[in-house]
């Protein structure tokens, strides 16, 4: 019973941790837990639907409100456009994102995937951070120049020369083959949109903060609802949302099985303890306890047994969670190379996550199972044939 509860608590924390890591990896390579953008931008990703300097000011004010304190980890303004990257040898379609290097490195995991050169810095102008596969296909190395072409704000095709300052490799084909980051100011000048961005993306402390943050932002930006809209990662990254939901169901089924095993173990333990002590209960009845009192005794004993072992099991489970809380569990030996799913590189190190609600749920489960598991043995105890129970018959 103790082992079942410990296993339950640990596996739930591990699943929660794996889940949260997966979401975080997805949002750090994508558009954050929450993205603030023009309402039409999600359907048509062009700079026509951008946030003006005035909108950006309102967004910056909204995200600095105290309601977001403790939840907001980083905010990065971005100006994204679909374009073409051309070198002397080839031309390929790319997504070009103008970023504020300092703020971007607080949100995005892209700088951590540096393969050669360096990441963008604050005073960079014509530097570009390029995906490794794209660089290979364009025949580019660090220091090489290439040209970015895209439609500017006036609808004209505009070109921008850039120099490769760093090359990254995430393991994610869509990023490595088709993503270029350049300084935000360079992108604004190139596209003729001074002070504008296409989104401000937010990294939160956890995915559970998305709802309250969205509520707060909706309230703060209510007056500008026709110009700015806050959307969560589930909406901005439907592929990751679908994958996470599927994983959720797999978790539910797994834990339902685990809960059932734990429940049956508890029922069996209590029932066995009653069966083995038939004579003892018979003696108690003979000495003056009535049926109801013996039933209550067995029920209380079952509940205490369940609660005690449940709490001990939970403490052991939490101790194991705590043991792996700092460094996590490294599953890289089970993976060959980078493992990607739903536009995310999956981190092989899973850090179990502990939440108070897990303790509450586990206690509730223990209580429910203890009750269910104690009722039948208690009823059995009330039905004892006294003479038989004590082998009193001839």
């Amino acid at each position: 019973m103790i082992v079942a509860m410990a296993l339950l608590v640990f596996s739930r924390a591990l699943a929660e941790g794996g889940h949260e890591d997966w979401i975080e990896a997805g949002v750090r390579l994508g558009s954050g837990h929450v993205s603030l953008q023009a309402p039409q931008y999600r359907a048509r990703k062009t700079i026509e639907y951008r946030l003006s300097a005035e909108d950006l000011g309102a967004v910056e004010a909204a995200i600095s409100k105290p309601a977001l304190n403790g939840r907001l980890v980083a905010a990065a303004p971005r100006l994204a456009v679909e374009g073409l990257a051309s070198s002397a040898s080839s031309a390929l379609p790319v997504a070009v994102i103008g970023v504020d290097p300092e703020r971007e490195s607080n949100l995005s995991s892209l700088p951590e995937h540096l393969e050669s050169g360096r990441y963008l810095e604050g005073d960079d102008r014509l530097q570009a951070y390029v995906g490794a596969r794209l660089a290979e296909r364009l025949g580019l190395e660090t220091g090489d120049r290439f040209v970015l072409t895209a439609q500017d704000a006036s609808g004209e095709i505009a070109g921008q020369m850039a120099r490769v300052i760093g090359i990254f490799r995430t393991g994610l084909p869509e990023a490595d083959e088709g993503l270029v980051q350049i300084p935000l100011e360079t992108a604004r000048e190139w596209l003729g949109v001074p002070g504008a961005v296409t989104s401000v993306d937010l990294l939160l402390d956890s995915s559970r903060s998305v709802r309250p943050v969205l509520r707060s932002l909706d309230a703060s930006l209510a007056e500008r609802s026709d110009a700015v809209r806050a959307i969560g990662w589930r909406e901005s990254n439907p592929e990751l949302d679908a994958a996470v939901r599927m994983d959720d169901w797999a978790d539910y089924v797994f834990h339902a099985v685990l809960f059932a095993i734990a429940g049956l173990t508890i029922i069996n333990t209590i029932l066995m303890s009653v069966m083995q002590r038939t004579r003892e209960f018979g003696v108690m009845r003979a000495l003056g306890l009535n049926r109801g009192e013996v039933g209550r005794l067995v029920f209380t004993e079952g509940m205490l047994l369940t609660l005690a072992s449940g709490v001990v099991g939970m403490l052991i489970g939490l101790a194991v969670v705590w043991l792996f809380f700092r460094n996590g569990i490294d599953f890289s030996s089970m993976m060959s190379g980078e493992m990607t799913a739903a536009g995310t590189v999956i981190d092989p190190v899973i850090v179990p996550k502990f939440r108070l609600v897990q303790v509450a749920e586990s206690l509730l489960f223990v209580f429910a199972v203890g009750t269910a598991a104690s009722i039948y043995p208690a009823w059995r105890a009330t039905r004892l044939d006294l003479a038989q129970a004590m082998k009193f018959a001839e």
Partner: protein
């Protein structure tokens, strides 16, 4: 007819066990009476019905037919709660296999019925301590049953049966698992309690030694009383 003077009285008592086609008449029309303070043995061969008769007197088994009065109350029709209360307050049990609760110490076993009656801890300890001294198991209070000899366990069981000063003690083969010396000393102890406290003792036994010591021998064969002899 209500009889408030007898410690135990039965009238045309029957117990029939039925299991499918098998029908066993364990007790067949037994009528007898035990006066307060008697020291009575129900004797007879195995299967003669003495334990079943004892069970019916103690309210552990309900009769198929007939009536039983204990301490003046007809118990056949009593609800479970009232029967339990009667056992708690008026009847003490001693079993062949001692039947001490294994997780309780000797003292806790002995004070169990007092605890159920709601006696204060101090009063319980005082009465059990006095009784333990009297029956020669002083100093064994904190021992678990597993750490006691058979004779010591049966003494604790006797202490448990009499500590609440019941009107009636029912003992089923109390000496069956004991050697002669221990058995003799236990019988002497129960005789002493019978004399001094006036407690009625009814035994079911094969033990010739116990039969010889009893002042009254009721012999059962095939569920019927075949003789009822008193010793002067």
């Amino acid at each position: 007819m209500n009889d408030t003077t007898a410690a135990v009285r039965t009238e045309n008592l029957w117990k029939i066990f039925e299991n499918g086609d098998i029908r066993v008449e364990a007790v067949r029309g037994v009528t007898f009476r035990v006066e307060p303070g008697e020291f009575v043995v129900l004797a007879g061969p195995s299967g003669s019905g003495k334990t079943t008769l004892l069970n019916m007197i103690g309210g552990l088994t309900r009769p198929t037919n007939g009536k039983v009065w204990v301490d003046g109350r007809e118990i056949g029709g009593l609800p479970d709660r009232d029967l339990a209360e009667l056992r708690l307050n008026r009847i003490g049990f001693v079993f062949q296999a001692y039947n001490l609760l294994p997780v309780l110490t000797a003292l806790e076993n002995a004070e169990f019925t007092l605890l159920l009656r709601g006696s204060e801890a101090e009063e319980r300890r005082r009465r059990v301590g006095k009784l333990f001294k009297r029956i020669g198991i002083e100093g064994l209070e904190d021992r678990l049953p597993g750490k006691l000899s058979g004779g010591q366990q049966q003494r604790v069981a006797v202490a448990r049966a009499v500590v609440g000063e019941p009107a009636l003690v029912l003992a089923d083969e109390p000496t069956a698992n004991l050697d002669m010396a221990t058995s003799t000393s236990l019988i002497e102890l129960m005789e002493e309690l019978n004399r001094e406290l006036g407690t009625t003792f009814v035994f079911a036994t094969h033990d010739r030694h116990l039969m010889d010591r009893a002042r009254r021998n009721i012999r059962l064969v095939d569920g019927q009383i075949v003789s009822d002899k008193r010793r002067d």
